[in-house]
């Protein structure tokens, strides 16, 4: 497993009750994303646990774009990944973050 954390700039999430939500299932080529409360209102804190080694820069690029697309400031994301491709990771991030926006 490769594990790292990132803190990326993002528009603050307006949801005061952005409680823990889980999106996806850990299975081969797939991942789960746990959304919870983070620290600074203009940053999104992300913890990545992935079974694929050597793709940290790809993760950073995917995550940077995702939190730029959505209002994820003040949130913390925790990811358990079993080898998902960036396409699947992006889709799950959109699902997890849009679910919050819709409920807002």
């Amino acid at each position: 497993m490769e594990r790292f954390t990132l803190s990326l700039p993002s528009v603050p999430c307006t949801r005061a009750d952005a409680a823990a939500a889980l999106c996806g299932v850990v299975s081969s080529g797939n991942l789960e994303i746990l959304v919870g409360r983070g620290g600074a209102a203009d940053r999104c804190d992300i913890e990545v646990n992935t079974s694929a080694h050597g793709f940290r820069d790809t993760w950073e690029a995917v995550l940077t774009d995702a939190v730029a697309r959505h209002a994820a400031g003040g949130l913390a994301l925790a990811i358990n990944d079993a080898g998902a491709t960036p396409a699947v990771v992006s889709l799950r991030l959109d699902q997890a973050l849009e679910a919050l926006e819709d409920r807002a």
Binding site: G29, A61, A87, E98
Partner: protein
Amino acid sequence: MGAPWNQRAARRARRLERLAPLTRGREIAAADMVAALEAAIEPGDRVCLEGNNQKQADFLAESLADCSPERLHDLHMVQSVLALPSHIDVFERGIANRLDFSFSGPQANRLARLVQERRIAIGAIHTYLELFGRYFVDLTPDVCLIAAQAADADGNLYLGPNTEDTPAIVEATAFRHGIVVAQVNEKLARLPRVDIPADWTDAFVVAPRPNYIEPLFTRDPSLITEIQVLMAMMAIKGIYAEYGVQRLNHGIGFDTAAIELLLPTYAESLGLRGRICKHWALNPHPTLIPAIEAGFVESVHSFGSEVGMENYVAARSDVFFTGRDGSMRSNRAFCQTAGLYACDMFIGSTLQIDLAGNSSTATLGRIAGFGGAPNMGSDARGRRHASPAWLRAGRERAGDGIATRGQKLVVQTVETFREHMAPAFVERLDAWQLMEDMGMDLPPIMIHGDDVTHIVTEEGIANLLLCRSAAEREQAIRGVAGYTPVGRARDARMVENLRDRGVIRRPDDIGIDKRDATRDLLAARSIKDLVRASGGLYDPPRRFRNW
């Protein structure tokens, strides 16, 4: 002295004379098959062994491999597909040493090893039509070993639903004084229909077990991913609908299966029934059943059949080509011709695409060949008839210039990364390395970049017809290459400019909400759903069942 102009006929007579003691009428006993081949074939002969995508003359292949290398050697094999271990055994045992072929999927590793050991000299790797063409020019078989469903006592053959290459092979062999030997599954007093007349054949054997057929075109809908659904939505709305594609071929794969399963749902909701996907050059894909039942499809001509689809095809004779006996009739040579000249679109997947749009399924250490995709996936420059889709693509390519011809739509649909994070977009195709390793003349490119018109990925659609320079083309490809190193090395400003011009279109740009891309959109989500959709006519192979 016989006339010097009829030596092939004399040679044929000589072989038949040697074969005569081993035949009763036209029939050879299975136990005598090795001896019969040793009698009919001579060292140095060019032998066509029928091996297709699906149907295999497997008993004849094994019998040939069991022949004595002292009796038979230096054979030149010409065959479209090397699929069975026995196809390679023929070379390993020193019976044959030259090969011209099209596709070698399952045997690609062994083939590459034998080439490197210089035990096989490959003449060329062909497309199907190209190889069939050469059967009539400079690769005419001396002997062909074919597979049929049934024979009668006279030697007439019934091919069943899987015709595939048989007519092309037999025509080339029989009419240039070659020997035609068939393996059949059964001998019947009366055939359901005659597909190959007896005076084109020389002998047949009832094989100890039915010829092997691979269910190559069955894709289980339960394995289609949301990303594939998204890309199918993009292809339907961004290409099929835009160009009004009515005549087409689909490559094999889950990407195209997803498109087939979205026709009765998503395409229907866009009002596209009757406007797209009416005529197909396609094997009877089980995943096309819901679209047929929904009234999308007017006609389907096929290269071969598909295991389990026999009853469905027979019951839908308005759609499929069937004989007077009711059973399916397919034909690879004609269907390839249809795909090349009479279709407006080919869409398929690939393993690697480079910055010029060249695509390849070659991987190191394997010689997999081409099959039919390059015929389907190339613009037919000999085409003259027009259609709206063809004309529009031609105009897009011509830009401000004058369009004197249209253009076939050749679409590659790929996820930016395959399994295990292997990028689909690369700076340099593995095909180049394979060319060097194997001493080939050219890299084995499946579809050339100058034939590709669109690339669909989860990130967007690149319309290469609208690119005005090699640099634009490169950025259009990088612009849909996602997070691959090729995609991340894009010139972001140029990509945004291409997007403004509609060269690159994102899902948002064509009005697709990614959240709608769920498996709920699939008209069938399991093989069982396909059986239900067929009214119980589709009988899937056991390995695809979960009931």
